[in-house]
């Protein structure tokens, strides 16, 4: 390695903490100008697309769940919807509502984990939630209770919080009775109150001023805040049927770890996740979440990535409210699942994982054996935009912050997007790239 020129400064965070999975980041700065930025991923590849080939379609939800222990339901939901599309069946009515309930559980636990345990400590200059609890214990405890409420949904409906066992192509293995769901109501109601209070608390934080110019991409549905259904829309006029995603969302495998570039064909990098969902769908929030968002100062879309913590909390309120709505209207369906027959064909689906849009495509033979699979997790889509954010953050704060503070601010800029590196990694190049 050659000696850097004297005015060149390198910020290197060896092991990025408080993200799901393991990654590192590297920024090279000349004066106040960023010369190079790399979000390095050193998660080893697990080859999910390859190991799915030859498996039965009925196994896909359980296998793909293992891509991510924080958002297994997202994988299960994208998988079953893509597979049901091949079979030509649609799971709706009460079974569809139960799927939304399960997904709400995951949004609640995943967002609460990120907001209180991973993201909030940054705003208080704390290394972690344990240190944060020394001064903000009541809020950390509220966060843990909210997370437990999400986990309670997953455990009851899914069998367990991590890698639920009850999701099946066609519906569920077993559906709960009304009486079994009822006990969730007080816990979810309490969590919803605490989420509203927490949002107020969070809205008082100091947010560094910086704005991203990303194209924001999310599912858009005319009737609901999107989770499972909708078309792919964007702030720049994208309007796609999910079936057409492969022609428009392009992935390139290029050499160095930052360079798995998911881009919009002919347009460039884009961002999925809470900021995108909120920007495109805030008008379809329920009244409670919409009002809470307004009171938290989110009068419309925000492009400040640090404020994503507020948007996540709004989505927690929405998910808790939604979950209570599903339970209130629940009537146990006559059968736990439809019995779709396998047939040869290709199916695609997108759902909104807590971190952003998760796309699956499967090709099956007539017996239901998976021939090929393709999975586009949100973090691999977001990576180019996260790097663009790092450039903006470094250029905005390099003048006023010392090295240690700037390094921390960079880590925070990555955590703003709650990257799930375990998910993204099976697409990424893994050697650490050294600076020249």
């Amino acid at each position: 390695m050659s000696e850097p020129e004297p005015e060149v400064k390198t910020i290197h965070v060896e092991a990025l903490a408080r993200v799901e999975g393991e990654g590192a980041l590297r920024v090279r700065l000349r004066g106040d100008k960023v010369e190079d930025v790399q979000l390095e991923i050193y998660e080893p590849p697990r080859f999910f697309e390859a190991l799915l080939a030859g498996r039965s379609w009925l196994e896909a939800p359980d296998i793909t769940a293992r891509i991510c222990g924080i958002c297994p339901v997202a994988y299960q939901m994208s998988a079953v919807h893509a597979l049901e599309q091949v079979a030509g069946v649609e799971v709706d009515g009460q079974l569809g509502a139960l799927r939304r309930l399960l997904y709400c559980g995951e949004w609640i636990e995943s967002h609460a984990l990120h907001v209180f345990m991973l993201h909030a400590p940054d705003f208080f200059g704390c290394a972690d939630a344990i240190e944060l609890a020394k001064t903000q214990r009541v809020w950390v405890e509220k966060g843990l209770r909210i997370r437990r409420a999400g986990n309670a949904i997953l455990a009851l409906l899914g069998g367990r919080a991590i890698h639920p066992i009850n999701v099946r192509v066609g519906g569920f293995y077993r559906t709960p009775t009304r009486a079994e769901l009822e006990p969730l109501v007080p816990q979810l109601t309490g969590a919803r109150d605490e989420a509203l209070e927490s949002l107020e608390w969070l809205s008082g934080l100091d947010f560094p001023e910086v704005e991203g110019d990303w194209e924001l991409v999310a599912l858009v549905h005319p009737d609901e805040y999107p989770m499972i259904r909708g078309r792919l829309g964007s702030t720049h006029g994208l309007d796609l049927h999910v079936d057409d995603f492969e022609e428009h969302l392009i992935e390139a495998h290029v050499e160095h770890s930052t360079a798995l570039h998911a881009t919009l064909a002919g347009r460039g990098p884009y961002l999925t996740g809470p900021l995108a969902r909120f920007a495109l769908n805030h008008e379809r929030l329920g009244p409670l979440a919409a009002d809470a968002a307004r009171r938290a100062g989110l009068r419309g879309p925000t492009r400040n990535p640090f404020r994503s913590i507020l948007v996540r909390m709004v989505e927690v309120v929405q998910a808790l409210d939604d979950a209570l709505g599903v339970i209130a209207g629940y009537v146990q369906p006559p059968r736990p699942h439809l019995d779709p027959a396998p047939r040869a064909g290709i199916g695609r689906a997108a759902t909104e994982a807590p971190r952003g849009t998760l796309l699956h495509r499967y090709e099956l033979d007539a017996a239901g054996t998976i021939l090929t699979a393709r999975i586009m997790p949100p973090t691999s889509q977001n990576q180019p935009s996260i790097e663009a954010d790092l450039v903006r953050v470094v250029e905005a704060f390099a003048g006023e912050l010392d090295d240690a503070a700037l390094t921390w601010r960079c880590e925070q800029a990555v955590r703003n997007h709650d990257p799930c590196i375990s998910c993204a990694t099976h697409f990424l190049k893994l050697e650490l790239e050294r600076l020249p």
Partner: protein, 255 residues
């Protein structure tokens, strides 16, 4: 400086699910009162240098770099506990052990030559001495608490190695094989999950790995009587604990 035992949590090839169970163990705040969390990147940016009293390892070894890293971790740990199917049996990613990793590389990556990986995904115990292996995909917080508690108290963890059928029967759960003819790995799978699958009227898929002295041949014969064809039987035995010895050897007999 604190006189609490130093706890470190390490990640190898995995989904983070088992680490998440550590985080949920008796709630993080209480855990932090009993141990000094010295290295746990998913939770904290504060890192305390080793040696560590207890290291918890999630994930399997799939790269040359990781094979080296686990040796370093072993060297700086008094006790090393592996958690989950990835760390104890290679995980779902060990399916490559039965196939051709070159093919895997080509399927997933446009430029397979840029991907550094070993041909196999292996359990941590194949690389270093392990003091305790906790099963599950994922492990349960309850068993994790027992293991941590035992190590902190200097006793052996009380984790039964008998089959999932034992608690299933004890709880009076309807047997899915007897009642519905559903193939179930319960008879050869270690207990510990709470026998969730039969309670949700589905067969066990073996995510806790083989029980002690499992009669895999009898299970295979029974599954075939129920109409399970050989390719399906092989798949059934080869999932999250595909490379655990008893499952692996039985699966090979039906290839």
């Amino acid at each position: 400086m604190s006189d609490r035992p130093k706890l470190a949590v390490w990640k190898f090839a995995s989904c983070d699910g088992c680490q998440l169970s550590v985080l949920d163990t008796e709630e993080l705040l209480l855990l932090a009162e009993r141990v000094e969390i010295s290295h746990f990147l998913e939770v904290t940016r504060a890192v305390v240098a080793g040696p560590y009293d207890i290291s918890i390892v999630e994930g399997s070894v799939t790269t040359a770099h990781d094979a080296e890293r686990i040796r370093e971790i072993r060297a700086s740990s008094r006790a090393l506990i592996t958690v989950g199917a990835c760390a104890t049996a290679g995980g779902i990613q060990a399916l490559r052990n039965f196939g051709d990793v070159e093919e895997y590389r080509r399927v997933v990556y446009a430029r397979p030559d840029w991907i550094e990986t070993l041909a196999t995904s292996t359990a941590i115990a194949e690389h270093v001495t392990v003091d305790y292996e906790l099963r599950g995909c994922p492990v349960t917080t309850r068993q994790l608490e027992e293991v941590l508690g035992a190590f902190l108290a200097g006793r052996r963890p009380a984790i039964p190695a008998y089959s999932a059928c034992v608690p299933c029967k004890r709880q009076g759960t309807v047997c899915v094989t007897v009642a519905h003819g559903t193939p179930c790995l319960g008879p050869i799978t270690q207990a510990g999950c709470g026998t969730i699958c039969p309670k949700y009227t589905r067969g066990c898929y073996g995510c806790f790995g083989p029980s002690e002295s499992p009669n895999t041949a009898a299970l295979a014969a029974q599954a075939q009587e129920l109409g399970v064809e050989r390719p399906e039987l092989v798949r059934l035995l080869r999932s999250f604990n595909a490379d655990a010895e008893a499952f692996r050897e039985e699966s090979k007999r039906h290839e």
